[in-house]
Amino acid sequence: MQQIFNFLIKYRNLLLYLFLMVIAVTFTIQSHDYHRSTTIHSTGKITGGILSTRNGVYDYFDLINHNKKLSEENASLRMRLLEIGDTLLGKETTLTFTDSIPYNIFPARVIKNDFYKSDNYITIDIGANQGIQPDMGVISTSGIVGVTDRSNEKFSRVISILNSQISLNAQIKGTSTIGSLKWDGYDPYVMSLEDVPRLAQVKKGDTIITGKQSTLFPSDILIGEVQDAQLVENGSRYKITVRLFNDMTDLDHIYVIKNRDQKAIQEIDTLGTNE
């Protein structure tokens, strides 16, 4: 007994170090695992509040840039509106069809963004009070941004597409070729489209868009353009390098998309596997 106490007293610093280290490493492993809820995260009341104060301060330095981006987006939306207006009959407006559109869109602002780690997260300034739930798609004006992960009343955390855990359904525009979009963990401007069949027709400069199989995003949202394509796995599949349209290092105004039919689609999808 005496020896045990002596041992504990002699090595108390080492034991304390190992104890604290085990806690810290456990938290780290949790944070790298997409499916487990993490203990340490940036959506807490105090943390979120401080981060949004910080954003408020830095906003002033970037106002010109924000205005430019928003007015560009306005212009492109106006163009699209005119396009739709042309194809509508008579004097009906698109607004009468809001019930038939299965998506709700929530505007939000980024208060924290990361891109140099291998698992990156974004914190945004809307939460459960505004109707944000886990697993909703997030886009910006020029392309996709990520998927919501967890939220409290006022803030939400988004899994950035620059995260090794994420894999999204994507498609080459103009064809029905699909693949899964992943990030290799190096360059925040480049992702790769994997599992594309060998017979697919791929050209440099082709546009990559979200696929119809995705329940998170509406189809036809822009992602990026083909930069390079290589045959892998003994030439049976393509691995396509995609240069993102979105600048993931400079995000501010983003939109969260809620798919009304997401649950229904997922239920139908899992029917086959359960039987």
């Binding site: 610093n13 938290f27 401080i50 190096y186």
Partner: protein, 169 residues
């Protein structure tokens, strides 16, 4: 003693504040954000007992982890730095550093620089290997460690130089 406590509390809060509000937003060359908060652990008064500095370092690390969504990487790096600090002190100031009752901030700049270098290497290697957490990306981890480590060293030197001149006068 009381004055020491007050200095440390002020240091803890102000370094955290500047880390979150200023140095996390620099993004030099797109990804370089120097870490100034580890000055707190380096400058913490030298005592025989080590458990208090380890607990405080853990707390400091966990707070930063919640802001950067890094899980427990900051905490692990800080605790390791606190645990190994006596080794670096012995290397830089010699075996008898405990007897001399030195204050780290009052020592000469070249020794301070050496101490800073050792501490930054330990901290950054642990931090970035936990953040990247992928054996196949060792080169990328090294690149981050070296570039951000260099930035941390430069910025910390400037801060120390500014405060040293005040301490002497």
């Amino acid at each position: 003693m009381n004055k020491d406590l007050l200095t440390n509390i002020v240091r803890f809060i102000s370094l955290l504040f500047f880390q979150i509000f200023l140095f996390d937003q620099i993004n030099f060359l797109g990804f370089i954000n120097p870490m100034v908060y580890l000055l707190f652990i380096i400058l913490y008064p030298i005592e025989n007992k080590r458990w208090d500095i380890m607990l405080i370092s853990f707390l400091l690390g966990i707070i930063l982890d919640t802001f950067q969504d890094t899980g427990g990487a900051h905490a692990a790096a800080c605790v390791t730095l606190a645990f190994t600090r006596p080794i670096w002190l012995r290397l830089v100031y010699g075996e008898s550093y405990k007897m001399k009752n030195i204050k780290v901030l009052k020592t000469s700049m070249d020794r301070l620089l050496l101490l800073l270098l050792f501490c930054i290497i330990v901290h950054h290697v642990i931090f970035f290997s936990l953040v990247i957490f992928n054996g196949s990306q060792i080169l990328y981890t090294l690149k981050l460690t070296l570039s951000i480590g260099a930035a941390t060293l430069v910025v910390n030197c400037i801060i120390l130089a500014l405060f040293k001149s005040r301490v002497k006068s």
